[in-house]
Symmetry: C2
Subunit: 597 residues, 2 copies
Amino acid sequence: MSAIVNRRDVDFMLYEMFDLEGLFATPRYAAWDRATIAAVLDTAQTIAETKYLPCAAHVDANEPHFVDGKVVMEPAVGEALKAFGEAGLFAAGFDEGVGGMQLPMLAGLMVNGMFQAANVSVANYSFLTIANAHLIEAFGSEDQKARFLGPLLEGRWFGTMCLSEPQAGSSLSDIRTRAEPLPDGSYRISGSKMWISGGDHELTENIVHLVLAKIPGGPPGVKGISLFIVPRYRVDESGAIGAWNNIALAGLNHKMGQRGTVNCLLNFGEQGDCIGHLVGEPHKGLSYMFHMMNEARVGVGHGAVSLGLAGYLHSLDYAQNRPQGRLPHDKDPASPQVAIIEHADIKRMLMAQKAAVEGATALLAYCSRLLDRQQTEGDAGELARIGLLLDILTPVAKSWPSEHCLEANKAALQILGGYGYTRDYPVERIYRDNRLNHIHEGTYAIHGIDLLGRKVRMQSGAALAALAGEIGAEIEAGQRDPELASEAAGLRSALAALEHATQAVLGCNDQNLALANATIYLDAFGHVMIGWMWLWQARVARKGLERAPADAFYAGKLAAFRYYFRYELPKVHAQFALVAALDDTCLAMTAEQFAAG
Amino acid sequence: MSAIVNRRDVDFMLYEMFDLEGLFATPRYAAWDRATIAAVLDTAQTIAETKYLPCAAHVDANEPHFVDGKVVMEPAVGEALKAFGEAGLFAAGFDEGVGGMQLPMLAGLMVNGMFQAANVSVANYSFLTIANAHLIEAFGSEDQKARFLGPLLEGRWFGTMCLSEPQAGSSLSDIRTRAEPLPDGSYRISGSKMWISGGDHELTENIVHLVLAKIPGGPPGVKGISLFIVPRYRVDESGAIGAWNNIALAGLNHKMGQRGTVNCLLNFGEQGDCIGHLVGEPHKGLSYMFHMMNEARVGVGHGAVSLGLAGYLHSLDYAQNRPQGRLPHDKDPASPQVAIIEHADIKRMLMAQKAAVEGATALLAYCSRLLDRQQTEGDAGELARIGLLLDILTPVAKSWPSEHCLEANKAALQILGGYGYTRDYPVERIYRDNRLNHIHEGTYAIHGIDLLGRKVRMQSGAALAALAGEIGAEIEAGQRDPELASEAAGLRSALAALEHATQAVLGCNDQNLALANATIYLDAFGHVMIGWMWLWQARVARKGLERAPADAFYAGKLAAFRYYFRYELPKVHAQFALVAALDDTCLAMTAEQFAAG
């Protein structure tokens, strides 16, 4: 099997679970069929396996550094991204009208996953560029699109997102970067931006920064944030590159992982005018940014899943080939050692990885399918329902994998034992890489507050009601199959605990107390969603076994399904009980009590 | 507060929890009192803070490497260990008769913890040397002690433990290193040893390897393993250093963390005779090694705790000083940002760390106190009971911190956000360092099998009965205090679940099935032990509050106690239910089913 993808599982998700063929029947995706999708996947897999994967350890060990004021990095990074661009993959998800392939998001998720699994540090450059281009496509003026979109979609220019600042971190309402209007309609940008991935490098002719800044005199807080296109080199009306735009690299961050992705502190306009172009209307920057967030966050969540998958596939291969020890019943030291996959705890750690990775893949595929339906659905009511489902699932889709696929990586490392702890094997790197996903694009805590403070409350609980409706339908289907009925009942009970905890929180008027255990709520909520996905996978696998009773793939799905319901889902009851109790143990602890020991 | 120790908590453990003063009343420890213990702790803290801590990041970033066939490392490593040796700390735990301080183990644990928290990679050299010297002291001949013990206790020579081999890993019955008898009573050693920490370096005049090897013609498996002293340079009868002993450095392992500890593949006797000296009797090597294991494993567990503490203290300091964001009820963007310690989820992550670290510290202190009682107790029946308690608690004391204090480090990193993910702050290094503790000195899985397959069964369950007796007494004490009664009842219920799961497993005759969920049993078992320790700490804190009602330290202890019983202990019920059900979901999964996806 490939080290980065299980194509059988990809096909299972695309065709048996999420009906990609149904999309081929829509006008938007009518040009696609199974053969052309497979061709794109084949191309992506070849590039990922031959250009991204082989240099991953080398890129990790030789991170970008300064030489004569420029960022120097391993040539393999540029070569990999060049191959990605030459295959047209920057534009894969874009409309044909702007030169794209109009690839369904669901298929695009699987394409991207291979690059993230192979070498996430390199994949980040394209991921950010694509997100940047999507924003300009959605909200830029015709002139802005004409100047910037083409080079981004060809991969000749890369893009960034400049949100955080050293003093503000996650608190965007406190950003200080200023944008002063100039007579020609452009803006003079000044300020510092922190944690800018791809912020400075020589990989491309230009870098297009999307910068959040405040126009003087605007409203305070997040309501006064505007969005600007700020290129590294100025771009004239013909699209030609001009003078340096006074964006100075003030420092490189040296990270635990994802080391191939240059990460910068940038100073805008310190040495001279830095010109920015307002996107859309003033003071609406954050809403534009958030418009793209569902998609970006699904992508980050899938990055965590893809690293989980890479660790799983590597540790599975190792476990099949490493002989060591004997089973408990065998007391004869002269008997041959067994492959470690025969040991119960190795199986448990493989199963935990499989359950997390394939469960989360299904959730992200489900979300991607919703994004595709947003493009193809004509009914306004149904569109609204799809929007609600995406809104409530996005914090979960981003966060659950960042915790549980990181834990999967921990298990992968453990399976390799001492070897796993060395840099001779990829699992420790994958584990380091994945640790970022808990932090960026909103921390676990921030998504917890988003879910419990906003998403389950919006429109009088309409999003949660829509979601419960979807899950309820799957439970009912499960209860009709004796092989699935017990687990279906378990999911019903978990969903009831979720709803009970939600109601308890909604009944609390003390906002600080209500959100005190939001992270735990998010985690348990995610566990229920993954349970839903496993019940669904099991139902589909049961159908598969009717056609092919000896198929080990389907048997493995059912085993992972049972694992999840026996080993994982029962954990949520203690979590929801805690949330429902509005426990204030942590909230009541004072800084003085901590500092005393 | 110090970055490596909370001296208030150390005193709480030594004097309020574990009655170190009671040891001063015994003949063995009569020379000690609170003042002299404090002086040793002060000395250790000064050395750890001035020699170990400042170079920790530098040593991590510049790992040992080969130059002209020799291992070169940062000079700071040698300087730190020199200061440790000059303070007499190598000999601290040894008898006065061999030049030691006869320091109680309980106090020694706290001394060692400061070095582990400050710079575990450097502390490993002394830790291994001390363990090595303990083994020679316990089982070596008078001649061997005369030759080797003095230089080890002075820190002039360092020691190693050579167990693993490339093809054998954790499976010691499969080691192949040979020891052929020579006419003069010594042995010719040949073979390869893997993962040898401190295996080769220029820090000391000599290195004393303790090597497990097989004498040809002996019994197969672990019953044919003997133990040898194998010095890097031969040592004559006068103790003088002679010729190189043909131990070749065959490779350095490049690890994820603990990078300052050189870790080697060694080839013994490849280029000429490598002479070893048999310790004790032939074929008893493993029993000698295991005799010292209780102590060594308590030390490894405490290493994990100390890293947990270092991360906790750092993230606590950061959280008190980093302003960011506002509380949920505050919607005014013009209001000042709060220190992040005010945010509920930051408090939760600090509390999780405090609960894990201080709970585990108590368990390791309890075990150390038992080790001290082995030295001072005269009653044979009580000695036997102490031995049983140590036997059953050792796998827990080693393993629980390696999982839960690693999770504590994950939380510390999260509190620092993006900064925590960079190498500019120590938390990512601490997290990498701690990841090893799950693997070495027996993996989590191996300790699970030890606990469920051996320790709870030995002497018809006498060890578990002794332990349940201790816990039961604490529960009864807790139930007499209305402030603790509810948690005491929770602990009783958790202990009942533990005992029920144990009985279910003991009733299963299929050894493979019985041990299939041993790791989960170990984890939940550990959670009950830490619950016991928190109930105990709470009882002592309640006494403290009677004397000093406004003392924030005691209030913090009670809050962490409540946290543990509300957030952590309830998890064990799902775990024990799974174990009791003899679930075979993982065991039944085949390699083919995994490989199919």
